[in-house]
């Protein structure tokens, strides 16, 4: 009896009691849907259809048609992510002062809920040579020939901006509104104009949040697939890494190779996210309010 109490007390002291059991469903969920498939994929990638353990990886990094997909994907994902974050800051700064914030945020959430395929279908009609966009510009006499915005880099770029921006914006908005407005007022009272207030007060306090936003937006953009196929040139300029994985799995039925590509994809994402988080570690971390509230 005394032993049992001893164990319980010791566990309780480490913050574990009956309530701790409530994490079990979540742990099972993660194990079944994330850890197991990941480990299985990793295992699969080391058992190639032919060659030694690392044959898939060697093949990937020796075939330009495969390894260049990393560059292609980064060339899409990095500019899109940066553009989205940079755009979202001024918009968020303005929106936080609006009263009808809810309505606007609801409108912005719609593209997220629609999903990339629907947005891509919409853009196919809208941006096509006979689409509204080009017809309006031509009717207005701004251009003579339709702009080629589909089945190339820009089609995918635009679709990533449209589907990625709301997500980036909502994250940024929550970080911007988390900053105590009296800090900006204090800055103004001390003679700082808007630009200096942004640089010295808001930006340093936003940096940790913006880094997280960058990381999450990047991961989303890096795994681009539907719009690269539907709006891009999947054989050329927008042959992103997920297309390579898809082709390996469903055109060559080489699950092992597909798994290896997925692992490489994960490694690139992890590398960039870790780099961002390390950079964030250097920035100020702490509350974004100026004292007792």
């Amino acid at each position: 009896m005394s032993d049992r109490i001893g164990v319980r007390l010791r566990l309780a002291r480490r913050g574990m009691d009956g309530l701790t059991l409530l994490v079990l469903p979540a742990v099972l969920f993660i194990l079944a849907l994330f850890v197991y498939p990941f480990l299985y994929g990793l295992f699969l990638s080391f058992h190639p259809m032919k060659g030694g353990t690392f044959a898939n990886y060697i093949r990937f990094f020796s075939d330009p048609f495969l390894y260049e997909t990393i560059g292609t994907t980064l060339w899409l994902a990095v500019p899109v992510t940066i553009l989205n974050v940079v755009l979202s800051i001024p918009v968020a700064m303005r929106v936080r002062l609006l009263r009808r914030q809810k309505l606007l945020t609801t409108i912005l959430v719609v593209p997220i809920t629609l999903g990339t395929v629907l947005v891509a279908e919409g853009l196919l009609n809208y941006l096509g040579p006979r689409g509204w966009f080009n017809r309006v510009l031509m009717a207005a006499g701004i251009i003579d020939h339709p702009l080629m915005l589909l089945h190339n880099y820009w089609g995918v770029f635009l679709s990533l901006v449209i589907t990625g921006f709301p997500f980036t914006f909502l994250l940024t908005l929550s970080y911007v509104t988390g900053i105590d407005p009296s800090l900006e007022q204090a800055g103004a009272m001390l003679g700082a104009r808007a630009r200096a207030r942004f640089r010295h007060i808001l930006l340093p306090l936003l940096t940790p949040g913006l880094t997280i936003t960058l990381a999450l937006s990047f991961v989303q953009a890096f795994s681009v697939f539907p719009s690269a196929v539907l709006l891009g040139a999947p054989a050329g300029p927008t042959r992103v890494i997920s297309i390579a994985a898809y082709q390996a799995a469903y055109e060559q039925y080489d699950y092992s190779m597909a798994s290896a590509i997925a692992m490489i994809m994960a490694a690139v994402q992890v590398l960039i996210v870790v780099a961002l988080l390390v950079a964030k570690g250097i920035a100020y971390r702490g509350p974004a309010s100026g004292g007792k509230g």
Binding site: Q185, L190, R193, K292
Partner: protein, 354 residues
């Protein structure tokens, strides 16, 4: 000490107004503040005192009137153009900057040489008695110290006017008293003008040279602390200044000697603006004390010990509840006779807006 307020003669508010749509937060406030004066804006919450301060600071634009600093009209400038210091209720220290950088921020914005900034920040630290704390972040120091940093940050730019928005409301009682005398000391050293917003009449009385009582966005009275304490201009100002007994009564006699019938007794009083007829009577609890032949008979409901004396509530025979002070312990149910000196029974017109 080289930190000193910039020279100016006076700050004039000319009928400044501010409304938020249909809500009128400030209505035609006029006030002239001399250099070196300490003004307290006093009023209950929602009276417009914080709005007034924000309008002065430039954080809220006016919807009417003008603000002048000597011959310069300043209400058209933004907060960054006015050069006033402000101490916020929550201090609003920049959490990512050290105490030193917080204090030096205003000088940095003025693009002063680095050596000068360092020197003046040290002086400001010494002035608020925080020497040696300069490298800490605001989150690493106590509330009282944060308060001192906020004051140092506001005064290091040598503003002609320092605005304080209930700066002591987040501190505990002991620290509040301590910071109160600190604020007065620093104000005296700098020679600046201070406008101090508070709802605490004790703070206003002890700090200010002049008190402006606001209610519903209007100035109800401007006066020295003694005047407001002893002779409020109207019954509602009296109520706010601690005259807890505000009683409707009938007055008889003439202005030389007015007596009021209240709570089943008859008291001699002093007319402020009341005359014979229906009046409002204001008496501070400390002036209403037990006396063997007092005119008002009452029964004690509660009494609490306050150290030197007792403060209590008693019910008069006609049901009126009276706040009184006693010098000896009185228990609930005890019967008393209460009296107040005639000069401390203030009589106001009954129709005064209440």
């Amino acid at each position: 000490m080289t930190i000193a307020s910039r020279d100016f003669r006076e700050l004039r508010l000319e009928e400044i107004s501010r409304d938020f749509g249909v809500l009128i937060a400030l209505s035609k406030i006029s006030l002239t503040v001399q250099r070196g004066e300490f003004i307290a804006l006093l009023g209950p919450s929602g009276c417009g005192k914080s709005t007034a301060l924000n309008c002065l600071a430039g954080l809220l634009p006016l919807t009417g009137g003008a603000i002048w600093l000597d011959e310069k009209r300043i209400d058209t400038l933004g907060p960054e153009g006015r050069g006033f210091g402000m101490v916020f209720q929550n201090y609003a220290l920049f959490p990512h900057m050290s105490v030193r950088r917080n204090i030096g921020f205003g000088l940095q914005m003025q693009k002063r040489p680095r050596a000068e900034i360092a020197k003046r920040v040290e002086e400001a630290l010494a002035l608020v008695r925080l020497t040696g704390q300069g490298d800490k972040l605001p989150g690493q120091i106590s509330g009282g110290q944060q308060q001192r940093v906020a004051i140092a940050r506001a005064i290091v730019v040598e503003p002609p006017l320092v605005l304080m928005d209930e700066p002591l409301s987040n501190l505990d009682a002991k620290l509040r008293l301590e910071m109160r005398s600190e604020i007065r000391r620093i104000h005296g050293l700098l020679g600046c003008s201070t406008i101090y917003v508070t709802h605490d009449q004790d703070e206003a009385l002890s700090l200010a040279d002049r008190i402006v009582v606001l209610r519903d966005g209007q100035v109800r009275q401007i006066g020295a602390p003694e005047t407001l304490y002893m002779r409020p201009a109207s019954a509602d100002v009296a109520e706010f200044m601690g005259y807890r007994n505000i009683i409707a009564a009938q007055a008889s006699g003439n202005a030389a000697g007015l007596s009021v019938a209240l709570a089943g007794g008859s008291l001699l009083g002093t007319a402020v603006d009341g005359a014979a007829g229906p009046v409002t009577v204001a008496i501070r609890p400390e002036d209403l004390t037990p006396s063997p032949d007092g005119p008002i008979a009452a029964e004690v409901i509660t009494a609490e010990y306050r150290g030197r004396d007792f403060y209590g509530v008693a019910r008069a025979d006609d049901g009126t509840e009276l706040y009184f002070r006693a010098f000896e312990r009185v228990g609930p149910g005890a019967r008393l006779r209460l009296a107040a000196p005639a000069e401390r029974v203030l009589i106001y017109r009954a129709d005064a807006r209440r």
